[in-house]
Symmetry: C2
Subunit: 417 residues, 2 copies
């Protein structure tokens, strides 16, 4: 009996979402002959977490226990191949790759009614519980990676997705028919006036969006409120003098209470965008902040994200977007981090592809990019992208304005030859 | 100038914590001849995130840039050795172990004033920013693991640590001079009455603490509020009838709003303990919930934690404890997960050792344990431990009471021969 409604509670497999399953894809490293047992163990771990012999309830056995849908060999674990496309988003710099073990794709069907969709309205999905059931305890197995999810159509409308998305950011910046440009305020340790001066220079050079270095938080040498007001103020002055409107995205970091306070300060200062790192603050917090507290586009930062043994296209592409990221920064190949070209392009694809009716998010490849690589990157990603260049601009020192103008020009001129 | 105080802001290296550094230990997999460059790159990534040539501010160069303190070879990456003890908490089932690469311990000193300790009082540390600066972007490097931190004494009083700790849980349960016992409510999918009946049986058998399966959240078939009231109610009845007081720890899961609501429901129902999974809800959220919303001991669950490339003793031992876990569930060796004995014992050590003046937390080894292993586990861990057995009790089915009594008896009798 439900105390709230007086009606009997549904059993597993009954009621809304009761019959629905969600297919989860893992990449598993296993010795030959063990993969069936391992796949079955994952199916149990991510559902009832109990030996089947300990389950006396037939409905739980029939409905709640996860089911292995598919096991497919992917070749030797030491191979560097990208698979044949059925593995949607394999981590190619992954912990998988030990001697004598084979790689397998394993697809497991889990009951959707375990995900905490109970009760209330359209945003009833509990993000923490979803992560818990899709990868929680299995994350403790070093030989398993969470690769992708086949999102069932019944979840359409469940995820808010981006509030503005790729097109909303074009509306905000006025950037049409070309890629967008982004620069970063760094290094941390600079006094506030120096950061505000960087804003001024970037704005004069025609940058679309300026983001905080993700290391800037609420330090004694540049407290959040004063930094945000000074940086936004510098941009407001450029706008008043020249008509150029450059967007500033301060980085919100901390516990929920700090995040709420920082979001208010940013809004009061007139910031037209904010940045958050979902894996740092917690994915459920990120989603709730977007839904409840943020009325401007949100730029997601990947900090702490790579620590997860979750395939980057799934995490930085699909998941961050489903939870509300309007733009997502990720590692481009050939920079400071060892991602492959295929991996980076797949992240962008996950950010932009049709996905449960949510808005497309703006992909932001980054991580040691240079002005010289602009044409190559735009050929790779197309124009629905924002290029973020940090250190390679600032290394110009006294020639920062000129160098930033070269970056902006290179992006604007691309494809107009 | 600080708008709030009118006094000039400190520069890096000035003011409270200005001169302090925090030493962070990583394990890095690298080809011979590359380790110096990689260590320097980590020091830069975790501080200014900018080529040094791009930094014009001498104070930032002198103070804010991270410094490589030590590089020490640990032997071939494919080796399975435990190191020689200087690596405090190496992950031994780690992604490190590729062919032709060597393993190194790298110690890097970071400026403490980057961690967001600014402004306010003793709990000024921003947990998200601390994680960001200690491992944020470096988490994107698959060949680097975050192994440990040498916590500087100046952080004493900064972390709240457990509110009750190991001794507080002994006070609560009355368990003295012996290890504690814990059982789990599972599988999910059971109706509420069946879960309440399990509580009744476990209590009659003399279990100290009953925890929710971490998969139980707010599902249609067992909504949080009704489940918690029913389970606590079952234990209240046993207490009234027999005087036996068994503690129930419901699992709180979700976004901050859901967590706050669930904490209130649990408190209203009279629950004397709660469980949360810090890596699932977000470490900063966990710390803030403990500080602001929870007035009973907190049991930490490792779900999603293993996904982090953070050494388990650091994450489940030190970090969860510093953020307020009174007890911490972790994987014991020889069960369903591939942890070594040394690794598991080291987690317990991190939970109990002197650490910045915080209370010791109660270690809870688990993950496929059996009644038969009780003597061995108690010999390994000593009596300051709580043994958690789940499936191995429930598999007794109609003999559950008897089997649970055997578990309780085995723990109580240990060492009294």
């Amino acid at each position: 009996m439900s105390a709230a409604t007086g009606s009997p509670l549904p059993r597993p497999g009954e009621g809304a979402f009761g019959k629905e399953r969600i297919r989860v894809l893992y990449e598993v490293q296993a010795a030959a002959g063990q993969i069936e047992a391992i796949a079955q163990a994952i199916a149990v771990e991510q559902s009832v977490e109990l030996p089947l012999a300990a389950i006396t309830d037939q409905r739980v056995l029939d409905h709640t226990v996860g089911q292995v849908h598919l096991i497919r060999p992917l070749g030797d674990a030491s191979g560097a191949g990208d698979g044949d496309g059925i593995v949607h988003a394999r981590v190619d710099h992954s912990p998988l790759g030990r001697r004598g073990l084979d790689r397998y794709e394993v697809a497991i069907d889990l009951a959707l009614d375990t995900m905490g969709l109970a009760g209330s309205a359209s945003r009833g999905l509990d993000i923490a519980q979803m992560m818990n059931m899709l990868f929680g305890n299995t994350s403790l197995h070093a030989h398993v990676q969470w690769v992708d999810v086949e999102w069932p159509e019944c979840l359409r409308g469940t995820f808010a997705g981006p509030q503005f998305g790729l097109e909303g950011i074009r509306d905000l910046t006025g950037a049409r028919g070309r890629a967008l440009t982004c620069a970063a305020l760094k290094p941390q340790g600079l006094p506030i006036e120096a950061l505000a001066k960087l804003c001024h220079t970037f704005a004069l050079a025609g940058i679309d969006i300026i983001k905080d270095d993700h290391g800037l938080s609420d330090q004694a040498y540049s407290p959040f409120a004063e930094r945000v007001r000074a940086c936004q103020g510098a941009l407001d002055k450029v706008r008043d003098a020249t008509g150029v409107r450059t967007v500033y995205a301060p980085s919100l970091t901390g516990s929920p209470r700090r995040l709420i306070e920082q979001a208010r300060i940013a809004e009061d200062a007139g910031c037209a965008m904010v940045m958050m790192a979902p894996s740092l603050i917690g994915l459920p917090v990120f989603a709730e902040m977007v839904a409840d507290r943020i009325s401007v586009p949100v730029l997601a930062h990947p900090s702490m994200g790579g620590a997860a043994r979750i395939a980057p296209p799934l995490l930085f592409g699909s998941l961050f977007r489903l939870l509300g990221a309007d733009a997502s920064i990720f590692v481009n190949h050939g920079g400071r981090f060892a991602y492959s070209r295929g991996q980076s392009l797949l992240i962008a694809e996950h950010a932009r592809k049709p996905l449960l009716g949510t808005r497309a998010a703006l992909p932001v490849p980054a991580g040691g990019m240079t002005v010289e690589r602009v044409p190559e990157m735009l050929n790779d990603y197309g124009e629905d992208v924002m290029l973020l260049i940090g250190g390679s601009l600032l290394i110009a020192r006294e020639d920062l304005l000129e160098r930033t103008r070269a970056f902006v020009h290179s992006v604007h001129a691309h494809g107009r030859a």
